[in-house]
């Protein structure tokens, strides 16, 4: 991919321009720092939530208080002071946007540099963009069309009000509040997120996306996403920020739950490019995300992620293969540069008979970063004929970076077939020289080689996402060869 003028984009990605976010006019409606039951009651009442949800939050809070922040990941960071964070701030004054022209020009500029105009996105791919928090009109243009099919795609707050029976039924059904420290915290204090329901037999005609969100409370620290695919339905859901997300938040503890009922399929793609901190490792987002899906009979969940951002990433999108003949997939590219740290992977829990899972993970470590794959493949006694194939490769760009692989394989059924392969190697000097000899410069050569290396994963992304993901890889690795 020829990509020029990268320097400026890189500046945008890593530079000082991350000063967007909460501004002065919200001061008056910001809860005091700290977390206690009153704050949770405040969040719940501000959001006009039903009593059951408040109780749910309070229960989660009680559990969280007894839990310890995990120290098993291969990560080193200053643990956040959870009492120094403000857990509720009202969205800032909204402007009604009537057209894309009113979107922040700087953001548009960045997107243009990445080669994605929103018009084009909309026109080419029919991406329904969910500007959840802003309730901005541009985003909801597809809502009507989705509505005709009975598809619900709205913010979590709206879902709580409009579809309480669905939310109550599925919220926390895949990631229980007490699952882990961060999920408990999220359950207690989540402010918003997305909700999606695909009715029986419906094939969602477009990629659903929370594609481009301006940072207000929605992308805030504690996002909650719930996707339910009813029997024999299909949905492809895109999450994240192909444009560099502007965010001052140090801590993100999101929870994503997927429910794939019998014979349905959910494809969930993420391109994560949160602020990674500066070259010295100062600042940057702590990304502690719990993502999990449950697969019922003959259903399929496919996670695809391209992780290039965040100072610290702790993330294991997982599948519980409960139903017979269900399928789980995990495709991941994780790039770390400078002082970034990533500990990411997946869990495939095989419960049903004839369940299959595939794990393809490609790690790329540059600068003085550390990149760990951590995965669990568990075959329970009930899971006859379970199959898993895992391939975890690591590519090292510098002699100061680290690449680590921690696969846990636990099998309790003799009919299981599990294969795990992993390699770690340096970026091929022969390959680079071959490119140089053909007149391709070094930056571009690295970009080509890395994109080729990650191709198996990038191919899983919807077309328009894949192109941007490729560019992101290139940007993330600029000047990375030591």
């Amino acid at each position: 991919m020829a990509y020029d003028g990268n320097d400026k984009v890189l500046e945008e990605v890593t530079g000082k321009s991350y000063e967007f976010g909460f501004t002065t006019d919200i001061e008056s409606d910001k809860a005091p720092a700290g977390l206690n039951e009153d704050i949770i009651r405040l969040i719940s009442s501000k959001k006009e939530e039903p009593e059951w949800l408040l109780k749910w939050r309070l229960d989660a809070f009680a559990v969280w208080q007894k839990m310890k922040e995990p120290d098993w990941p291969h990560l080193q960071y200053q643990k956040p002071d959870y009492q120094a964070i403000s857990y509720y701030s009202a969205p800032k004054q909204k402007k009604q946007l009537n057209s894309l022209d009113e979107v922040d020009p700087e953001m548009r500029k960045t997107m243009d540099k990445l080669g994605i105009s929103m018009e084009e996105q909309k026109r080419l791919s029919g991406v329904a963009v969910d500007f959840v928090m802003d309730s901005v009109s541009v985003a909801t243009s597809f809502k009507e069309k989705l509505g005709e099919l009975g598809i619900i795609f709205c913010s979590m707050s709206d879902a709580v009000k409009e579809h309480p029976e669905l939310v109550q039924k599925y919220l926390g059904s895949v990631v229980p509040t007490k699952d882990n420290f961060f999920s408990a915290l999220n359950s207690a204090v989540f402010t918003d997120g997305s909700f999606c329901y695909i009715p029986k037999g419906v094939r969602c005609p477009m990629e659903l996306s929370t594609y481009f969100r301006i940072n207000e409370s929605g992308t805030g620290q504690f996002e909650r996403t719930l996707v339910v695919a009813d029997e024999s339905s299909y949905v492809s859901y895109l999450e994240g920020c192909t444009a560099p997300q502007r965010d001052e938040n140090q801590l993100h503890a999101a929870v994503v739950e997927l429910v794939a009922l019998d014979e349905s399929e959910i494809k969930y793609s993420t391109v994560q490019n949160w602020y990674p901190g500066d070259a010295e490792g100062k600042g940057g987002v702590f990304n502690f995300v719990t993502k999990r899906g449950i697969c019922h009979r003959r259903s399929k969940i496919s996670w695809t992620q391209v992780e290039t951002g965040s100072a610290v990433t702790w993330k294991y999108p997982s599948c519980i293969l409960k139903g017979d003949h269900s399928v789980g997939e995990f495709y991941s590219v994780a790039v770390t540069n400078n002082a970034q740290q990533a500990d990411t992977g997946t869990k495939m829990i095989h419960l049903g008979k004839n369940t299959h899972s595939t794990i393809i993970s490609k790690g790329i470590s540059a600068g003085k970063s550390h990149n760990s794959y951590r995965g669990l493949v568990q075959v329970m006694p009930s899971a006859d004929n379970a199959r898993n194939f895992s391939q975890c490769d690591s590519l090292l760009m510098t002699d100061t970076s680290g690449a680590h692989t921690f696969p846990y394989i636990e099998v309790k059924n003799p009919t299981a077939k599990v294969e795990h392969e992993a390699t770690t190697s340096k970026i091929g000097e022969d390959q680079i020289f071959y490119c140089l000899q053909r007149g391709i410069d070094e930056e571009q050569a690295i970009s080509l080689i890395v994109n080729g290396y990650a191709k198996e994963v990038l191919n899983q992304l919807p077309m328009e996402f894949a192109v941007e993901a490729q560019k992101l890889l290139s940007i993330s690795l600029e000047g990375s060869v030591g």
Partner: protein, 250 residues
């Protein structure tokens, strides 16, 4: 076009080239032959700018420019092409994308706009027919899973795409059966022109039946010890290299 003077190069502490002189004029085809370990492939690598080799002395003039001052990319963009003895596999990178990046790199160097998609595809089609490279290979990852012959044909295809001024063919005949050799040689011959020069490095005379050189040089122990016309190659084929070591050097 290319003027190599007293070139010395070493790898690590070991000197390989020990004062090599060679002048190649536009349109000429020179062949370099020599026993294993004489420095043939080192010469190719040094000319292309591989950093594993240290140039310890001498100079190389390439069309009035100091070749040794340029990095590998600049050399390539200025019109130097190396057909590798062992072409490298690059998994996941399609041949066609690879060539587009290379062609556009050269065009940028020449102050031209990037090539249009349609023009590029036409060019690919035209050049691929030169070496009978079928469409399947064009879309596969660079050299991945190619047979030995396919790799070499791919090298010549890339050469045709990039239209270099000076091409170095490093043991292009190694590992080729007679049909592949003929195809590769035809590709090279089609590219011969009064303003393009070739340096053909080979261990065997066989290739020179197809690519007929203007000059043949014998490289022994890092130096050219004997030069002649194409008949020299035949003599080498017949008598081997030992007589040179005995007669010429001794």
């Amino acid at each position: 076009m290319v003027n190599i003077k007293e070139l010395q190069a070493s790898i690590g502490e070991t000197p390989i080239l020990k004062g090599l002189n060679l002048e190649i004029k536009p349109g000429e085809v020179h062949a370099i032959m020599g026993p294993n370990g004489s420095g043939k492939s080192t010469l190719a690598s040094v000319l292309a700018g591989r950093e594993d080799y240290e140039v310890t002395g001498g100079a190389v003039d390439f069309e009035g420019q100091d070749l040794l001052e340029m990095d590998a990319t600049e050399r390539a963009r200025s019109g130097l092409f190396l057909a590798f003895q062992y072409p490298v596999e690059i998994p996941g990178v399609s041949n066609i994308n690879f060539m587009r990046a290379a062609v556009n790199g050269k065009r940028e160097h020449d102050g031209l706009e990037p090539i249009k998609g349609k023009d590029f595809l036409n060019l690919v089609k035209e050049k691929a027919s030169l070496v009978e490279l079928d469409g399947r290979l064009r879309n596969r990852s660079v050299n991945e899973g190619f047979s030995g012959g396919e790799k070499k044909r791919n090298e010549i295809f890339q050469m045709a795409m990039l239209e270099p001024r000076f091409a170095v063919l490093d043991e292009t005949d190694s590992g080729l059966d007679i049909d592949a050799l003929r195809i590769v040689a035809n590709g090279v011959n089609a590219m011969r022109s009064p303003d393009r020069s070739f340096l053909v490095i080979t261990h065997y005379q066989r290739l020179l039946d197809y690519i007929v050189p203007d000059f043949v040089h014998v490289l022994v122990d890092g130096k050219i010890v004997l030069s002649g016309d194409k008949d020299l190659a035949l003599k080498l084929e017949e008598k081997g290299y030992d007589w040179i070591k005995e007669d010429v050097i001794a």
